[in-house]
């Protein structure tokens, strides 16, 4: 057999796969590893979300609930830009609340930092949920 004939011949031999008795077991092992990798990822992301949420709630609880009354003290501690952004967030949230009829909800009575931590907690929870969902799809 010439070299030119032998190359396709050897490739055909390689493409013939011996029958493996434990093929089903192998497939099951891969499936198990696939599921356990996904479970670990979901657990890690859930734990990260929970830790983030706990930190956020802890931050909110530690703060004085009436920070709005001593906003001056807050301003002294926080950077000027940060305070302004919190105020803007409060105003826009108030506007939305007015529009949807939640007039009895007085966001002005909430402290700036309290609002910040609640928002941060909600954002973290949303991010964690999104990451978990994404990891399940990948």
């Amino acid at each position: 057999m010439s070299a030119d004939d032998f190359d396709p011949f050897i490739e055909r031999l390689y493409s013939r796969t011996p029958v493996m008795q434990d093929a089903g077991l192998f497939a099951a092992d891969v499936e198990t590893r696939l599921n356990s990798a996904s479970r670990i990822r979901t657990l890690a992301l859930t734990a990260a979300g929970l830790i983030g949420g706990v930190v956020a709630v802890g931050g909110a609880v530690d703060l004085n609930l009436n920070l709005s009354s001593d906003a001056g003290a807050s301003s002294a501690q926080l950077g000027q830009g940060f305070t302004a952004s919190i105020a803007a967030a409060q105003l826009s949230a108030q506007g939305v609340a007015d529009r949807i009829g939640l007039t009895q909800l007085d966001l002005g009575s909430m402290g700036g930092m309290q609002l910040f931590w609640i928002t941060a907690g909600a954002v973290l929870a949303l991010l964690a949920a999104g990451a978990v969902r994404l990891s399940q799809e990948v």
Binding site: Y14, S15, R16, P18, A23, F26, V30, E137
Partner: protein, 180 residues
């Protein structure tokens, strides 16, 4: 499940584990056999084949169906094997040796697995990467960190030995299943 590999891979890329499981069932043996033909012991071959399938699942969106799914996973597995083995100093020394295991006489039967045992580890690996995993000589040289000329001579010497050993005959059909 009668779907084509490309359709199954598309489902797997969208997170379909059941469809990916079907691909593993279809091609698991082919990938494991290639790794064994490259010189891996059965347990290491299975371990690397599993890693290759897990990696294939994560990268399923990259599979566009230009070649076969089996060939795509075989290449992933081959690269994983080379990477794993490069860390093993004993194996690297073995690759440089010229010793081959004595082959058993199968009275003219075409048995690739037996014939491969007559090759040195480096010849066996290079021939299997080239003709089993479909890698080009430059790809093998790059993956194994060897000069291109060395790879070419390993492949040529290996094929010469296989040609001398293998005689196509009626035993070729029926000894194994064609998986592709």
């Amino acid at each position: 499940m009668d779907l084509h590999d490309v359709e199954l891979a598309a489902h797997a890329a969208a997170g379909g584990r059941r469809e990916f499981g079907e691909l593993v069932r279809r091609h698991g043996s082919a990938v494991r056999a290639l790794l064994r033909r490259m010189g891996a012991e059965p347990s290491l071959a299975d371990d690397i084949a599993q890693d290759a399938f897990l990696q294939a699942f994560q990268r399923c969106a990259e599979f566009r169906g230009e070649g076969t799914f089996a060939a795509w996973v075989k290449r992933i597995a081959a690269r994983l094997y080379i990477k794993r083995r490069a860390k093993d100093a004993r194996y690297v020394a073995e690759l440089e040796s010229e010793e081959a295991a004595p082959a058993q006489d199968h009275a003219g039967l075409v048995d690739l697995d037996e014939a491969l045992k007559t090759l040195t580890p480096a010849e066996r690996l290079c021939v299997s990467l080239c003709h089993g995993a479909g890698m080009s000589h430059p790809e093998i040289a790059s993956a194994m960190n060897l000069p291109l000329g060395t790879v070419k001579s390993h492949v040529k010497r290996g094929l010469d030995k296989l040609r001398a050993r293998l005689q196509p005959g009626p035993a070729l059909s029926g000894r194994s299943a064609n998986v592709g």
